[in-house]
Subunit: 626 residues, 2 copies
């Protein structure tokens, strides 16, 4: 085993000097913007200095290089100290630090991937470690490379359960290339964090969750150098550095005091404090340089991933889209090794199990921890290392909505597949039914929302998702339904299919998933009455094919009926309203679930909540009456 060499005094002094430079630049930047969190930067100054100039291996001029160690600033409000560290490394111009939080600067209030040295946006607390887990899992198991992953958290955010989901994950998967740092500066935003400086309780919790744990003085650069070095030697366990620090460290009459969260230093005090910090710097112009990384990671493969063969379903064959998902993903996995799958102990319900059976080494079981599953999937997809698909019941993505919201800010290309949508799942009852997922995902600005209605279009949705930038959500259904499309059918984002039409259609009915099949059943019944309707399958709810819908609506007296296995707000119906809202003369009638449903058989529930074929028939008859 390698033995530890204490850095020489000059190096240690250099690290101390850098820490104070980071403090100075954090204070200057937040004074310039007249907002921000200088005291949260000051507690982390030595940690950042040691990480960036002693521990981590990276190319300062190429922060997103695939070989670099990764760094996630989970306590995103300490952004100025991150920006200052990259200025010290030479990547950010020091003068630019004063543009913090300005509308034309990428040095935002919290870091985002607009900056090449940021892989995931932070600022909603407790999310960094899950993403870091995904990066570390990828480094160890997919890239099989030597890059290491460092994640700095605040103590306040350790109250977030998502942190403990990630802690459990990392030890379960023995991520010894992962280091978490807890900057325990005692003070939260509005009062002390619950554990204050009770370092032993932090230690117990971290050890209880399976981590190699060092409690250290977070302002002692030598102790930090040693702890990070030790972490590199540990096998089969992630390491947590629990650093006792002081908020506002180094700032007289501010350090360790209440009421200094998120406040720039007052103008009448800033010069004294800066002079004080400056006076502690012994070698002002010395530049420290980081160690370079090993060149053992291939550049990302950005080629398109295609299904190796077209869908193998026959028209009319019964197949649930959730089941087709497993088959589709396994096919895609055959086409590219970059495809990986994650699930949260629902793999035998979402059918991600089909992929796992084909490619066990590319499947990550995340257990019942959806927040962390989504964060890990985001981490896996960073720097285009993988094309990740995470699945669970669509209802349970609501558990990770903050992570999904942040994934958009992170410019993530993660793919999320939610099964068991709507009342059509039947007996399990409302807790298991996704009825707000379309509203959730539609309101994510970078999100494509697929809602395939048969196995063929599901397979194409999976293929398209793998190649589509931004977040993709695929909504799958539990019931077995007929295959509607031939294997050759082409699908595109924002391209709807007219699945039933005649020259005498009087209403356009738009359904998706189970309700498209109900609409087709309704069309059959109505045809016998001599009433023809046009039926549209939107395929993607976002983007929605406004042109096809408008054309159909104009051909059917301006009358549209939407029918969805979803609450009335934010789903298919409102998406259609959105598409036609600026067109006069179009009337949209919406059938949707309007109350909390209950247990029952799928068909009973479709009837009870007004979205079955009979209800569509009645709604169509009413438009004829008007």
């Amino acid at each position: 085993m390698a033995s530890y060499h204490k850095p020489d005094e000059k190096t240690l002094q250099g690290l101390k000097d850098v820490a104070n430079k980071l403090r100075i630049n954090s204070i200057k930047a937040t004074c310039a913007s007249n907002s921000g969190h200088p005291t949260s930067c000051c507690s982390a100054a030595e940690l950042m200095s040691v990480l960036f100039f002693n521990t981590m291996r990276y190319k300062p001029s190429d922060p997103r290089n695939q070989c670099n160690d990764r760094f996630v600033l989970s306590k995103g409000h300490a952004a100025p100290v991150l920006y200052a560290a990259w200025a010290e490394a030479g990547y950010v111009k020091e003068a630019d630090l004063l543009n913090l939080r300005k509308i034309d600067s990428d040095l935002e209030g919290h870091p985002t991937p607009k900056l090449a040295f940021t892989d995931v946006a932070t600022g909603s607390l407790g999310q960094g470690l899950g993403a870091a887990c995904g990066m570390a899992y990828t480094g160890k198991h997919f890239d099989k490379s030597s890059y290491r992953v460092y994640c700095m958290m605040g103590d306040g955010e350790c109250s977030e359960g998502s942190v403990w989901e990630a802690m459990a994950f990392a030890s379960y998967y023995k991520l010894d290339n992962l280091v978490a740092i807890m900057d325990v500066n005692r003070l939260g935003q509005s009062e002390a964090a619950p554990l204050q400086h009770d370092m032993e309780t932090y230690r117990k919790r971290c050890e209880g969750f399976g981590w190699n744990t060092y409690v250290v003085d977070g302002h002692d650069v030598e102790e930090l150098c040693k702890a990070f070095w030790q972490a590199k030697q540990v096998k089969d366990k992630p390491t947590c550095i629990v650093a006792k620090t002081f908020k506002g460290k180094g700032l007289k009459n501010i350090e360790d005091l209440d009421n200094w969260h998120g406040k720039p230093i007052p103008k009448d005090r800033v010069d004294d404090l800066l002079n004080d910090l400056q006076s502690q710097i012994q070698v002002p112009n010395k530049k420290l340089t980081p160690e370079l990384p090993n060149e053992d990671t291939l550049a990302a493969d950005l080629s398109r991933i295609c299904l190796p063969e077209p869908p193998a379903y026959k028209l009319g064959e019964k197949m649930a889209t959730r089941k087709a998902y497993g088959i589709a993903l396994a096919k895609l996995g055959k086409a590219s090794k970059r495809v990986v799958a994650l699930d949260g102990d629902t793999k035998n319900s979402t059918f991600s199990d089909t992929f796992r059976k084909a490619f066990p080494e590319r499947y990550i079981e995340c257990f019942i921890a959806e927040q962390n599953m989504v964060s890990v999937a985001i981490g896996c997809a960073c720097r285009d290392r993988t094309v990740s698909f995470a699945s669970t019941f669509a209802a349970f993505f609501s558990r990770a909505y903050d992570q999904i919201r942040m994934a958009a800010i992170s410019q993530s290309n993660v793919n999320l597949v939610g099964s068991h949508c709507g009342v059509s799942i039947g007996e399990d009852g409302p807790s298991q039914m996704a009825l707000e997922d379309l509203a959730m995902f539609r309101a994510i600005p970078t999100c494509t929302v697929f809602y395939p209605s048969d196995a063929v279009s599901l397979e194409r949705a999976v293929e398209l998702a793998a190649n589509t930038k931004g977040i993709c959500f695929i909504r799958t259904s539990r019931p077995e339904t007929a295959v509607l499309y031939s294997p050759e059918e082409k699908f595109e984002l924002g391209l709807a299919k007219v699945v039933r039409q005649s020259d005498s259609d009087q209403v356009t009915v738009i359904g998706a998933g189970i309700t498209l099949h109900e609409a087709l059943a309704a069309a059959d019944i109505l045809a016998k009455e001599g009433k023809n309707i046009r039926v549209i399958d939107p395929f993607t709810i976002k983007p929605l094919d406004a042109a096809t819908i408008l054309t159909a609506a104009r051909a059917t007296r301006g009358k549209i009926i939407t029918v969805e296995d979803h609450y009335k707000e934010g789903g298919l119906g409102e998406a259609v309203l959105s598409a036609v809202g600026e067109e006069p003369g179009i009337v949209v009638t919406r059938l949707a679930v309007t109350e909390v449903p209950r247990s029952g058989k799928p068909q009973e529930l479709l009837d009870k909540y007004g979205i079955s074929a009979m209800h569509i028939v009645n709604a169509v008859r009413q438009t004829f009456a008007n």
Copy 2:
């Protein structure tokens, strides 16, 4: 200290017999419904028997009595064993158990408060303990009563971070009236839970999170009686009973085996298994009765809560609605002791701090754990013990969306107040901006969504929320804006205000919060051009005042412009489209944020994202051009 008396052999045998009866009824019910989770019931049979017939004190004929001990079945999929226990207690008719999961039975797949013995719906895992924390906090600190709270969890759900948020909360607040039970039956849905039967790691984690912890054999009724008795003696700590159990316990060739999650017993095996269980029952017809509770809890006060005096703002005065929230809640707190407030370490930003300063004994600091905060607030509101208001940045309610979704199923009356909505917060950047919260809350079927635009209407929103059934969400804003209404103005759910009108209005503009003020500024500019517009403040986005909007639209050439500090999907614009979608001849133009925003000054951002007065002016001019 009291000493433990071991129950006599007859009692112990009775508890064993009840456990097997619970197994039998769980199996019969799931066979009748041909779905459900009998093996998850069997692992918990002794735990349920001892809890219901040895430990808990309650009135079997009045399950929701305020004096009763509370029981939360966090592992809601074990519903049949809960129903069987209440059948054994005499509240549910045994024959009704066979109606499990039928559409006309309240014995649903997962328990909901349609059943008087259920306070909170479960079925989305990991949520029960947070609600139990709220009940225990209420019992100890608000009711000051002797009822105790028991929460049964599965081991699989202990992967959920929300569980550890609750664990930290309960020990921080020394909830010695709370007992958590972990039914460690080793097996999850699709594979073994991560810790399997590693009981010592469970112990370490629970102790690390500050709990008095007993690891027990979950099938040994005597050991359970003793552990629950010991838990009652412990002061200042919650107790966790970590019970080693076996999934499918008592079922030959099923017990402790994979692939039996969520599957009824096959027909060809059920008779043998039932006979086997039946044969172990020694005194088949013996009825055990629970101990009755102390009568030390007052009946809930259901009287209306009114502001003690009208709002004290002057027209035109500048006041941020977030700041007005603190003042309003403190006034309401003066009117009723039932009003309690919770926050997640943002109290100096949401201004719940104003309430805390007035009523520190009715404020619960939940630290940075929004899921748990919402669950605790739901727990506090159960059985109408309190009227709870929980606040954080509106963006961070996305962290608790699954809890909010479940709160609707729970028929909760919780009130949630989200500050810092939209781009108008400025420099902190997109991670702190709520831009999907209206979409989120609108899609909750029991939710009233308030979006007050000044301090007076904010105060009335808080008053209305306190008295409105279902979930209430109040969206508050960071910028200081002018008071629009006089103190006497009356506000009602679903009643919009026309804040600017003339006989010659040519467009109706609907804004809320900051965008209502931008709309008024636009109206001033346009008036100088001789272009009059009607401006509407909706007050509640759900329900939305369709009648007022339609009347205005008809008076303004069918033209509506909506403008919102929210993404385009699911917010004000789509709510308006929903309200007018069945009316021909109305055209809705929507101004909203359409991409992930960035840091900047509030006014710069309103401009950049197209929702400032100038953009409204331009949109109005365009409608004139058409």
